[in-house]
Subunit: 157 residues, 2 copies
């Protein structure tokens, strides 16, 4: 027998929950969101909701068009407001919303986590092709967050 | 506003929990284990505990020595029995133990998940160098499970 597992069990829970919702994958986001609000309500924990505008998903013309950018930004903001309202109706008391632009995993890890300081990050697992060579990255952003975030990460499926 | 987030919140929980403990990283494993037993007890859910003998971690002489293999196998089995006893003492009622040999993510995804059929896989995040070129894979197995498992995955830190 090894002595290194000679420990007492300490019940383990979380105190601040951040959920990442994708602007372009509602199916995966809704699963993650359902789990996050259920958990935040049960633990009476503050809930952060973040939605990142995935700039690298755009083609070059879209990226350069101020009109398209404005429209996408507006949709992210509107969707986020609806998520916040849903969480509040469900019974979560303390809610903060965050937006950003770029690669979701990078922005969330570098900018949002230090600001909101959650001990649990909740995300869905996106399953669509994301680059022009048609290579399918299944949940690449979720996987990057699971690997690199300093806090616990749950990928909800 | 987008219509695709026009949904009702369904409270989301889990019914079968599998926790992966590393034979050679007790620190990371204990965090994951604490979370898994807390969750399984709260939900009155069956708990699976799996420990994989990481064969690729061995050098070629160790791999070829039946004595060393026997000793490592014996330690995995003993450690697993201790985890099972701890979970039982904590109040988890239904517990199953699993072992295997190879790359943890591959064995767990291909062999253990289909057998135990959890809807939540709990793992720690190992932070030591694992190959001979000294490249540090931080939580590479956890990340591989988060990306490729068909069920929800939580990486506990």
């Amino acid at each position: 027998m090894s002595d290194n597992i000679n420990f007492e069990i300490s019940p383990r829970s979380f105190t601040r929950v951040l959920v990442a919702v994708d602007e372009d994958d509602s199916h995966s986001s809704i699963r993650a969101f359902n789990y996050a609000v259920t958990t935040a309500k049960r633990l009476n924990a503050p809930l952060g909701i973040v939605s990142i505008l995935e700039v690298e998903d755009f083609n070059i013309f879209d990226t350069l068009s101020p009109e398209v950018m404005k429209q996408r930004r507006s949709q992210v903001t509107d969707d986020l407001a609806r998520y916040v309202n849903k969480a509040r109706s469900f019974g979560v008391k303390e809610i903060q919303a965050f937006t950003g632009e770029g690669k979701p995993a990078d922005i969330i890890i570098n900018d949002i986590l230090p600001e909101f300081n959650p001990d649990l990050l909740v995300c869905g697992s996106k399953t669509k092709p994301v680059n022009e060579r048609k290579k399918i990255f299944i949940g690449s952003q979720a996987s990057a967050m699971a690997q690199n975030a300093p806090c616990s990460v749950i990928v909800v499926r």
